[in-house]
């Protein structure tokens, strides 16, 4: 097990190296000048030159890359051209919001997708199945921005049941930072008004972000369950006189789980990229919105920082999924 994890981590180093090379040189291909973009129309030549020198952008590309990698190896992501703050500080401020949103969307996905998929498979061709399939169809077909605007329009502007964009009502003070996740921090500090407000603010963006993946997971669970349900050992289990619950819980679902787990790993990655749009619509101060602003202002150090974070999270989640495999399937362990 340990060797497996170490091997994975070794692979991660290569992925990170690849991502840093790619983002760095992609940034060089774009014809626009980040310094000119950062300083605006009125900036004087001397100012632009001075800032370019300060950032080291007057050096040859190879030198720039060596410096960048050198800093990176020391854990320094460099300073943002736009905010002039260390990129690491920006990420530290904005990542928790994205993580909180992604986890909430993941919960929506798992809590709706899996049970509904199971029920749809068991009650195949009934109205429940039909309803689940329609939900999967709608969820899979509606673009995120449309879902977001629709939900905001109905539940915030019309019905006023739920709060609008943002993480917290602007009159409330965020909880003391422990994890950076408002709901968790509010719980830890026993700050109930903030907890309930933060939770209410999470509902719409989490549904928006999670809708598509719920559809995917629902379909996957349903088909995986159906496949196992048709197998001989299920018939045998039933023939032995095991109760329906035991057959489904222990024999069918357990065997249907590996592909579902794979999908969950993939979904986590897609949620992170989907967060960019959701964060824009819901004014959610996460790294998705940070990435958008950074791209439009040609803030390459920031863009590279976000890319690296994504490059770490994605393989990490996949490794966790693989560990999950070995927990459910002993065959994976022995291999």
């Amino acid at each position: 097990m340990m060797r497996f994890i170490l091997r994975r981590l070794g692979g991660l180093v290569f992925v990170l190296f690849g991502v840093s090379v790619m983002t760095f040189f992609l940034a060089q291909i774009v014809p626009a000048d980040p310094v000119a973009a950062a300083l605006g129309t009125n900036a004087r030549e001397a100012q632009i030159e001075a800032y370019r020198r300060q950032l080291g952008l007057d050096q040859p590309i190879v030198v720039q890359y060596i410096r960048y990698t050198g800093r990176l190896l020391q854990g320094d992501l460099g300073a943002s051209i736009r905010t002039r703050r260390p990129v690491a500080d920006d990420l530290r401020d904005f990542l928790p919001a994205t993580v909180e949103l992604t986890i909430a969307a993941m919960l929506v996905t798992i809590l709706v997708g899996i049970p509904l998929g199971i029920v749809a498979a068991l009650r195949r061709n009934t109205w429940i199945d039909a309803a689940a399939r329609i939900l999967a169809l709608i969820g899979g077909a509606m673009p995120i921005f449309y879902v977001g605007l629709l939900l905001l329009g109905v539940f915030y502007r019309q019905l006023r049941w739920l709060p609008g964009p943002g993480r917290l009502d602007s009159t409330l003070q965020p909880p003391t930072t422990v994890t950076g996740l408002y709901t968790v921090d509010a719980l830890l500090t026993g700050n109930w008004p903030v907890f309930s407000d933060a939770l209410a603010h999470l509902v719409l963006p989490a549904i928006t972000l999670g809708l598509y993946s719920t559809a995917v997971l629902l379909r996957m669970t349903r088909s995986s369950m159906l496949e196992i349900l048709g197998q001989d050992f299920v018939r045998t289990a039933r023939a032995k006189g095991l109760s329906q619950r035991l057959v489904i819980g222990r024999h069918v679902f357990k065997n249907a789980l590996p592909p579902i787990l794979t999908i969950i790993g993939v979904i986590f990655g897609s949620l992170l990229s989907g967060a960019v749009l959701t964060e824009t619509i819901f004014n959610w101060p996460g790294i998705g919105r940070y990435a958008t602003t950074s791209v439009t202002t040609l803030d390459y150090p920031a863009v590279m920082g976000v890319a690296l974070v994504a490059a770490v999270i994605y393989p990490l989640v996949n490794t966790l999924v693989d560990i999950g495999y070995s927990l459910i399937d002993p065959r994976v362990r022995t291999n």
């Binding site: 014809p31 626009a32 000048d33 000119a36 973009a37 129309t41 009125n42 004087r44 030549e45 100012q47 632009i48 905010t83 002039r84 703050r85 920006d90 530290r92 401020d93 904005f94 990542l95 928790p96 993580v99 909180e100 986890i103 798992i110 605007l149 905001l152 915030y156 502007r157 609008g164 964009p165 943002g166 602007s170 009159t171 965020p174 003391t176 930072t177 422990v178 994890t179 950076g180 996740l181 968790v184 035991l246 819980g249 222990r250 679902f253 357990k254 789980l257 969950i264 824009t280 004014n283 101060p285 919105r289 940070y290 999270i313 990490l316 989640v317 966790l320 999950g324 927990l327 459910i328």
Partner: protein, 549 residues
């Protein structure tokens, strides 16, 4: 049995949730990272309620600092200008200087230097309760020069201020000397801007750190203005509290002001409709139409200080010929562009915008295709000439796509047989080419760096300043001389007269066709009173004058 089954199921789900939580726990704040900034304490007196809290929503993605010596973005100037004060200011609608921290000032000649002497108001005090002294002024200006960030050039280049020439004569007198070729009028205008705001030396000096106090001032305020900083949540909001020790006449009615960053226009519209925001900025043409009939909301229009203009390169054919430039000015259908803007722009055809001393209000050009054709012929520009016309991608000030305005001009010139080849570039890329004097014809906007006619006159007219005239390769000795003369003049009336001459000269000879001055639309809830927007002032919105019914 049942419990066991449940356990079996839990075995799969629980690890996953644990994993998810672990990922989240690993991600955020490293140990020892600073948590929320120290609180400045609730404002004294009245408790903060929604009724005495003002929520102002705008796209404030551009805020990168709250240090007055560093701030140079629209989003940052608003809170900074309400927390800090300068020696003097412009009041809404006025082009004459008003006293703030300085109760009086005097400009005199001292050898070949100008001497500006400021007498501080003895009542002026910081939010800490300490008096504002000449020492604080010297400290603040010297600090802005040393820190040398974006706005520092206003002091060092425009005002030509050096640290050696700033002196505290006594506790309440500051003396500033600037070189004879600098302009005292321009310098006084520059001193109304936040870069010249006064910070409390005793508060900042112990917190200089390794960045001259910038990081400290991002989370604390040390000014004498009507508001103090409660907290700045990056990318989310800036919360200000009323200064309990405010020395100025008007006590802020709003005990708390929340400046909410809301980049999406749709979200701002929803916020003003639901009352989640009291004022929103940057209402686009669509939002304005949607809010027009709303009984709870009033639209307030204010002119920006920007000018949108067509520029041509005066050393590239065909516009190296003054007649061709004049022909272009007669060929454009200005009214059509104003119509496109749907009320979001005012026709202005001169280099000094409305609201500035020296603005003449003369718009001599109206589309006259016959005359344009004649002038082009006189300049030797044949029908069928093709001219590359570069425009930025995205939206121009006033809410219309740059490309749409360009297409309107393209259609105008097509009528007289001149083909404009529109090329779209990302704005910063366009700027880089513009700066390299590579563009024959382009569409752009300009906003002055400081609230003085010189903030436009020098860039537009003085080639030596290496700004707009230089970018367009227009080296005209008469324009250069006039702009210098006007900048140096200390008699306001004579100055206005010189600017009128310069405006007319550039209007007819320069490499520009000025198109319009865009407006800025705000939507304000009907229970809000006292909201005024004046872009010439720093801050352009005086939060302390806003009340609620």
């Amino acid at each position: 049995m049942k419990a066991k089954r449940l356990l079996t199921f839990r075995r799969w789900i629980i690890p996953w949730i644990v994993i998810a939580l672990l990922v989240s726990a690993c991600a955020p704040a490293a140990p020892g990272a600073p948590s929320a900034p120290e609180q400045a304490g609730a404002p004294a007196g009245e408790a903060v309620t929604r009724a005495n809290t003002l929520i102002f929503a705008a796209d404030m993605t551009d805020i990168i600092t709250l240090d007055p010596a560093v701030a140079y973005e629209f989003g940052g100037i608003l809170p900074v200008g309400n927390m800090y004060e300068t020696l003097l200011s412009f009041s809404p609608g006025e082009t004459e200087l008003q006293p703030v921290l300085a109760e009086s000032w005097e400009v005199s000649q001292d050898g070949d230097m100008w001497k500006l002497t400021f007498k501080l108001n003895p009542n002026a005090k910081f939010a800490s309760g300490n008096p504002v002294t000449a020492d604080d002024v010297v400290f603040s200006w010297s600090r802005a020069i040393d820190i040398n960030k974006s706005p520092a050039f206003l002091l060092t280049d425009v005002c030509q201020m050096t640290k050696e020439n700033i002196r505290a004569v006594d506790a309440s007198t500051v003396e500033l000397k600037i070189p004879g070729e600098a302009s005292p009028s321009v310098c006084l205008s520059v001193l109304t801007f936040t870069v010249a705001a006064v910070v409390e030396k005793a508060a900042v000096e112990p917190n200089l750190g390794d960045d001259m106090g910038e990081s400290w001032l991002n989370d604390h305020s040390a000014g004498s203005g009507p508001y103090v900083l409660e907290r700045w949540e990056r990318n989310v909001s800036v919360t200000l509290n009323a200064n309990p020790n405010y020395w100025g006449g008007t006590e802020p009615a709003m005990k708390r002001v929340i400046l909410q960053n809301m980049p999406e226009a749709v979200n701002r519209q929803a916020a003003i409709e639901t009352g989640d925001a009291d004022i929103i900025q940057d209402v686009g043409p669509e939002q304005a139409a949607a809010l027009e009939g709303n009984p709870d909301v009033t639209l307030v229009k204010g002119l920006s200080t920007l000018l949108v203009y067509v520029a041509v390169n005066a050393s590239m054919p065909p516009f190296d010929n003054p007649d061709a430039r004049q022909a272009l000015r007669y060929a454009i259908n200005y009214d059509n562009i104003i119509t496109l803007l749907g009320g979001n722009g005012e026709l202005v055809q001169e280099i000094i915008p409305i609201g500035f001393a020296g603005h003449t209000g003369k718009n001599p050009f109206k589309q006259d295709l016959e005359k344009a054709k004649e002038l082009f012929a006189k300049a030797g520009v044949a029908e069928g000439t093709v001219i590359p016309f570069t425009v930025a991608t995205g939206t121009a000030p006033g809410g219309v796509e740059w490309a749409t305005i360009a297409a309107s001009i393209q259609a105008d010139l097509a009528q007289i047989g001149i083909t404009l080849e529109i090329q779209q570039l990302q704005q910063s890329e366009l700027l880089t080419k513009y700066r390299a004097q590579e563009l024959p014809m382009l569409l752009m906007n300009w906003g002055p760096d400081f609230p003085d006619p010189d903030g436009n006159a020098t860039p537009f007219a003085n080639y030596e300043a290496r700004s707009l005239a230089w970018r367009n390769n227009w080296n005209d000795p008469q324009a250069i001389e006039l702009s210098k003369q006007a900048a140096r003049e200390i008699d306001p009336a004579k100055r206005v007269e010189l600017y009128a001459q310069l405006v007319e000269y550039v209007q007819n000879n320069g490499p520009y066709a000025i198109l319009y001055q865009p407006t800025q639309i705000f939507a304000v809830r009907n229970n809000v009173e006292g909201f005024v927007y004046d872009p010439n002032d720093t801050p352009s919105i005086s939060l302390w004058l806003i009340r609620k019914k």
